[in-house]
């Protein structure tokens, strides 16, 4: 099959003052694409063509290519990770597109995610949110007996739903307000349902939300685009969990 791509090309890193830099949409045509190729393999084919003709290849992030690392992710026709539900860009296949399709490929757009080059964005803001308290501070020591702390199955399931987050940033990219509340909600909800998370509960809710705001993410308006595109299908319940945890923490603050 054959596709026509419109891709955002940008050679210099975005700054607060100049987010666009020299960026613009550039049109490319790619022939002999197999429907069995993944979306990233199709981009590999494009890049081989570009290299052969002496042009700069398109920069995009990727690592595992099996949907577990969260590195990949671009806006495909305005939808984060493209048209298939619960799928990362690397797991999206060209059979999801028509032969001759015109496809728009853009980087995640958020002031907290500056574009490094072409389709690659800097997601360090997520790391800083995690560093602000999305963990449990215990001395690990020897591993404990597996069933020493009983956790009801429904609680374990809720925590696990949130823990499946791979930090790809699709929630921010798809949100009309570039809000990170699904991501931060997942971190908070993950621990809120586990006994191990209870000790630092208030501190965690306060610090994560504060860091999220500091990074300049937007504010959720409950439109649930994040839930629709999340490759791990994390439910918006985690945002309600976060709101409750934050209110509780604020109420108990001295």
């Amino acid at each position: 099959m054959k596709v026509k791509l419109h891709i955002w090309r940008q050679s210099k890193k975005s700054t607060r003052k100049d987010f666009k830099q020299d960026g613009k949409m550039v049109c490319y045509e790619v022939d002999h694409v197999s429907p069995d190729m993944s979306f990233l393999e199709m981009l590999d084919v494009l890049n081989e063509d570009l290299i052969r003709s002496g042009e700069e290849p398109v920069a995009f992030d990727h690592d595992c290519r099996e949907g577990i690392c969260g590195s990949c992710g671009v806006m495909i026709d305005g939808v984060a990770h493209g048209p298939e539900k619960g799928t990362t860009t690397c797991q999206l296949h060209m059979r999801s597109f028509q032969d001759g399709a015109e496809i728009y490929i853009e980087p995640w757009r958020a002031s907290a995610f500056p574009v490094i080059r072409d389709l690659v964005v800097d997601r360090a803001a997520f790391d800083r949110v995690v560093q602000s308290g999305a963990y449990i501070s215990v001395n690990t020591g020897a591993p404990q007996d597996a069933n020493a702390i009983p956790i009801p199955k429904p609680d374990a399931d809720k925590a696990f739903d949130a823990a499946t987050c791979i930090g790809c940033g699709a929630c921010v990219a798809s949100c009309k307000n570039a809000s990170a509340m699904l991501f931060v909600g997942a971190k908070i909800s993950h621990f809120a349902h586990l006994p191990q998370g209870k000790v630092e509960r208030e501190q965690r809710a306060r610090n994560l939300v504060e860091q999220m705001d500091e990074e300049g993410f937007g504010n959720c308006t409950n439109q649930y685009e994040c839930e629709a595109v999340c490759p791990k299908e994390i439910p918006i319940r985690v945002i309600a969990d976060m709101n409750r945890e934050f209110l509780r923490a604020k109420a108990k603050e001295e």
Partner: protein, 237 residues
């Protein structure tokens, strides 16, 4: 009080402010509609004596007015703060924007909200401040029992004789419906109420309530305009 300010400034604090003030405004809108349902009875005395009762509250009425106005102002200022922050959180728009499941009502909250603001200002100029350029002349006084009181019925009746004014109020009801149908379900999520079993009920209820409010208000305007009242329809004795 600095803790309150810092709470308001936080993202979730701002959202919760929207939700709580939105809920209060919703309460007002319900009471406002219920009160005005008295227009549906043919006798003007019903609404006029209700208006008199409200005016006789004196200082209490002012307490209620100032309270309501502050809640409204807080809702609007928080909306401005949040929507500006949201805009700057995405400095470059997508060339090819897409939407998967966000409803039309949810996407037009800022627009519908500011339209409500514009209309509330018009509505106050029309029926509260009675600005001559906006309010048609009406029989100012009516006698209830021994006392003369403001003739609210005549004020509304003369205004709604004009189809343009009725249409303007109708358009406003559609906008209010949009704002409330998303707003009511949104505030539950904001306040942390999200549940497999109850969320679908909340969504349905918020849609239904928004419809009842907009429909009820519309019914009142049409009833006054067309001189058709509940007793005519045999609905009440």
């Amino acid at each position: 009080m600095s803790w309150l300010l810092s709470f308001w400034r936080s993202s979730i604090g701002g959202k919760v402010t929207m939700a709580v003030t939105g809920l209060m405004l919703f309460g007002f809108v319900v009471v406002h509609m219920l009160g005005n349902l008295q227009f549906l009875f043919a006798e003007p005395e019903k609404i006029n004596s209700y208006a008199k009762m409200l005016h006789d509250l004196g200082p209490l009425l002012w307490v209620a007015r100032i309270g309501l106005l502050s809640v409204f102002a807080l809702h609007v200022t928080t909306a401005i703060r949040l929507s500006r922050a949201n805009r700057s959180a995405r400095p470059v728009a997508y060339q090819r924007p897409g939407t998967v499941q966000a409803s039309m009502a949810s996407r037009s909250m800022v627009l519908s909200g500011f339209s409500v603001l514009g209309f509330v200002i018009y509505h106050l100029l029309h029926f509260t401040l009675e600005v001559p350029a906006i309010t048609p002349e009406f029989e100012a006084q009516v006698k209830i029992g021994e006392e003369f009181t403001k003739n609210v019925h005549s004020m509304v009746k003369t205004s709604f004789d004009n189809w343009y004014i009725v249409s303007a109020y109708a358009v406003f009801q559609v906008i209010l419906f949009l704002h409330l149908s998303h707003g009511m379900q949104s505030l539950a999520q904001t306040l942390g109420l999200q549940h497999k079993r109850y969320t679908p009920i909340i969504k349905l209820t918020s849609f239904g309530l928004a419809l009842v409010i907009a429909g009820g208000n519309m019914l009142i305007a049409l009833s006054v305009k067309l001189d058709r009242f509940l007793p005519d329809l045999g609905l009440v004795g």
